[in-house]
């Protein structure tokens, strides 16, 4: 299985497209993954179960989205 000439744009050629090396993805996964999880926290849980900022403005601002996206809101 090591012989095929791989071209990502031609999946119909019958072989898998070239995979991206894990070592090239991991730094991105740590950096972007963490950043995205922080975003999800502020949309989904801030000023609900726990609070980074005091008050309820963040909670109230994203209130409708939080409910419709499925997060426990209050």
């Amino acid at each position: 299985m090591a012989q095929s000439v791989l071209s990502p744009s031609l999946p119909s050629a019958g072989s898998a497209p070239a995979s991206l090396p894990i070592r090239a993805i991991l730094p991105w996964a740590l950096f972007l993954g963490t950043l995205m999880l922080v975003l999800l926290y502020f949309v989904g849980a801030e000023q609900g179960a726990t609070s980074v900022f005091s008050g309820a403005t963040v909670h109230e601002w994203v209130h409708d989205g939080r409910h419709l996206l499925g997060f426990p809101c209050h």
Binding site: A2, V5, L6, S7, P8, S9, L10, P11, S12, G14, S15, A16, P17, A18, S19, L20, P21, I22, A24, I25, W28, A29, L32, G33, L35, M36, L37, L39, L40, F42, V43, G44, A45, Q47, G48, A49, T50, S54, G55, A56, T57, H59, E60, W61, V62, H63, D64, G65, R66, H67, L68, L69, G70, F71, P72, C73, H74
Partner: protein, 289 residues
């Protein structure tokens, strides 16, 4: 072995940027859906909430202090934590803002965030899950994300409208909700890896079925073992309204993930196309981005 060494390492960054963009646009479409389909049930639920909380007074929602703003009873403030904090009765964010800019913020940020994470998953999955091109891989990742991140956790801990919810148990409910998502994603990834291992022995179809059944059985056991949602639906809460709200919640996610799959699949396909052997074909107007 794949010839991964020929892939420029900047490819990952370019794919992730496209994931964020696709998530943003899909989030915009999902917002339009949520506003047109979801806001009706949300407003009706808040009306229910106020009608029932008025005599008890446990879950303070601002009463009529801000009713003058909208004229309608439903438009009065919807706030809970503010009364705990400082006893203030004024609304922090008006219903008009909550249902428009607030909803847009929530859905767009969610779209960007899950778009970025799904693009990361795509980078890992491309060329590793089978003979799927970029567009098919994007569709598979989006479908798997919808099922593992949203739908299966929803079956145990469904989305609840504003009227439902005991403030005293928000911590426990939030923890269980995120635990369910984390376990679902972990077991989903484990199932994919298991399926890949089994494929040489069982064949691709049987290995895929085995992995899918394995995920379903483990999740069913977990759903049985984990404690139930402490939210009791209040007596007298309209069943049809609850159904409409939850259907809107599912619809929002279907729109979001469908939009992401189609957009990101196309963008990723184009981003990866110039990496094809240049000798074989004339370059077809590769985008300079």
């Amino acid at each position: 072995m794949n010839n991964s060494a020929t892939m420029p390492s900047g490819t990952v960054g370019r794919l992730l940027l496209r994931g964020l963009l696709a998530g943003l646009i899909a989030g915009l479409v999902a917002f339009v859906f949520a506003y047109t389909v979801g806001e009706g049930p949300v407003s009706d639920s808040i009306a229910q909430e106020q009608a029932h909380s008025a005599p008890a007074g446990h879950h303070d929602h601002g009463g009529g202090s801000a009713a003058a703003a909208g004229g309608a009873e439903d438009a009065s403030a919807h706030e809970h934590a503010a009364s705990d904090a400082g006893g203030e009765e004024e609304e922090l964010v008006s219903r008009d803002l909550q249902s428009t800019a607030g909803l847009a913020t929530g859905v767009l940020v969610y779209g960007v965030a899950v778009g970025g994470i799904a693009a990361l998953a795509f980078c890992f999955a491309l060329g590793r899950v089978g003979r799927f091109g970029p567009r098919a891989t994007a569709a598979l990742v989006a479908g798997a994300a919808f099922v593992t991140v949203y739908f299966v956790p929803f079956l145990k801990y469904p989305a609840n409208p504003p009227a439902v919810g005991n403030p005293d148990t928000i911590g426990k409910r939030t923890a269980l909700f995120f635990l369910m998502i984390a376990l679902s994603v972990l077991i989903g990834v484990a199932a994919v890896i298991l399926g890949k291992r089994l494929a040489p022995r069982l064949g691709t179809w049987n290995a895929t079925v085995a992995a899918g059944l394995g995920y379903a059985v483990v999740m069913a056991v977990l759903a049985f073992v984990l404690p139930p949602n402490d939210d009791a639906i209040p007596d007298g809460f309209p069943a049809a309204l609850l159904w409409d709200f939850r259907l809107a919640s599912i619809g929002l996610q279907v729109v979001l993930w469908t939009g992401f799959a189609l957009l990101f699949g196309t963008l990723a396909d184009r981003a990866l196309a110039p990496a094809a052997p240049a000798a074989e074909r004339a370059p077809v107007a590769a985008p300079a981005v």
